[in-house]
């Protein structure tokens, strides 16, 4: 299964590079470790591990003002901590931001401590009117570019949510 998931990570990296992403700011979630590792070792990117997810929001927002493409990568729990930063920076100033997070707590996630994310992650996204797209299989990875471009049209943040099936296989 490792080979399949690494292939997904490589395709995610290729897709990010194709839409001009240079900076990737991340905080880990077990599900995205392959993605982080792939980006860390890919010269097309500057990978900045951050101390908390809000720092990724600040970094990517500043990079936008310097015309550098960027993406924030985090787990669902991390996303739940960034609502203030997103609404105060990206909504107030209308600064685009592309965010990738895990869809924890959904069917297939056997970790009970992610039940809260299963219950509240999507409702929180809806509550702040933040568009998102769920990426569940490798063939959907190509939608990353469209979502990234939508942040530039929408002038606000958008998220793509990676499922366990995509990142870890469907076992």
């Amino acid at each position: 299964m490792r080979g399949k998931t690494s292939e997904s990570a490589r395709r995610i990296a290729d897709e990010l590079a194709s839409c001009g992403v240079k900076l990737v700011a991340s905080l880990p979630d077990n599900w995205v470790m392959d993605v982080i590792d792939t980006i860390e070792h890919d010269d097309r990117f500057i990978h900045v591990p951050v101390n908390r997810e809000e720092s990724a929001i600040g970094l990517c927002s500043g990079a936008y003002m310097g015309a550098m493409g960027s993406a924030a990568l985090m787990g669902a729990s991390g996303f739940m901590t960034v609502v203030y930063a997103l609404t105060k920076i990206n909504y107030t100033y209308e600064i685009p931001l592309f965010l990738m997070a895990t869809l924890r707590g959904a069917v297939g996630d056997r970790h009970k401590h992610h039940v809260s994310n299963g219950l509240y992650l999507l409702p929180v996204l809806d509550a702040i009117s933040m568009p998102y797209r769920i990426i569940d299989k490798p063939d959907d990875i190509s939608s990353i570019s469209r979502c990234y471009r939508h942040t530039r049209t929408y002038s606000r943040p958008m998220a793509v949510l990676f499922t366990r099936d995509l990142l870890r296989g469907g076992l």
Binding site: N51, S55, G58, G62, M65, G66, A85, Y93
Partner: protein, 203 residues
């Protein structure tokens, strides 16, 4: 050192630096000192993210010199930012920690452990090497040109020990802009001085 006097002194030493000001008093003070609405971004209500924002900009445009202000109220919400800053170690970034030992934007409400916080020591403890402290206008005026002229590698961290705003100073005007106007004013300025394309189109 009076907060506003400190900012006016720094403004006098400014040449082409791009500025990011943080929530509350630093926005008010920088606006009062400069009335700059193109080369300064007032990241109001950012609660500890002004230097992360500035780091992203500094990374994207390494030929620009970036000054970022942050109050110690914001700093205590996210001191781990210094780990990220040290890791990035951007030579074109100066982080000014404005230490008024209070939550200035909320009527000088009490800051935890305000008597003993040693911000320079915290920065050095995270590996920062270019750390400066100023607690008087005289030393700031005397030493700031050398700090600014230095060509040493690595990013700069400057602690400014200032008095909290008085009641009258708290009433000073906030930069009178909505967010999108600031975004475009600032972004167009970045485009004009660097030649980059922030918004993907020119007017």
């Amino acid at each position: 050192m009076k907060y506003l006097d400190c900012f006016r002194a720094i403004a006098r030493h400014r040449t082409d630096e791009i500025v990011v000001a943080s929530a509350g008093n630093s926005c008010q003070a920088w606006w009062a000192a400069t009335r700059d609405s193109v080369g300064s971004f007032y990241l109001d209500a950012s609660m500890s993210l002004s230097t992360m924002f500035a780091s992203g900009l500094a990374l994207a445009q390494p030929e620009l010199k970036i000054w970022a202000f942050m109050g110690d109220g914001a700093f205590c919400m996210n001191p781990g930012m210094l780990m990220v800053e040290r890791q990035m170690n951007l030579p074109n970034l100066a982080h000014f920690l404005v230490s008024n030992r209070a939550y200035g934007a909320t009527s000088n409400a009490g800051l935890p452990n305000f008597k003993d916080n040693d911000y320079a020591a915290i920065a050095r403890g995270m590996g920062l090497e270019r750390v400066f402290e100023f607690s008087s206008l005289e030393t700031l005026e005397r030493d700031f040109p050398a700090l600014k002229a230095s060509n040493a590698p690595g990013h700069t961290f400057v602690v400014l020990e200032v008095e909290p705003f008085s009641g009258d100073e708290q009433k000073m005007e906030q930069p009178p802009f909505d967010g999108p106007e600031l975004k475009f004013r600032f972004g167009r300025h970045i485009e004009s001085v660097t030649g980059c394309s922030v918004f993907g189109y020119r007017i």
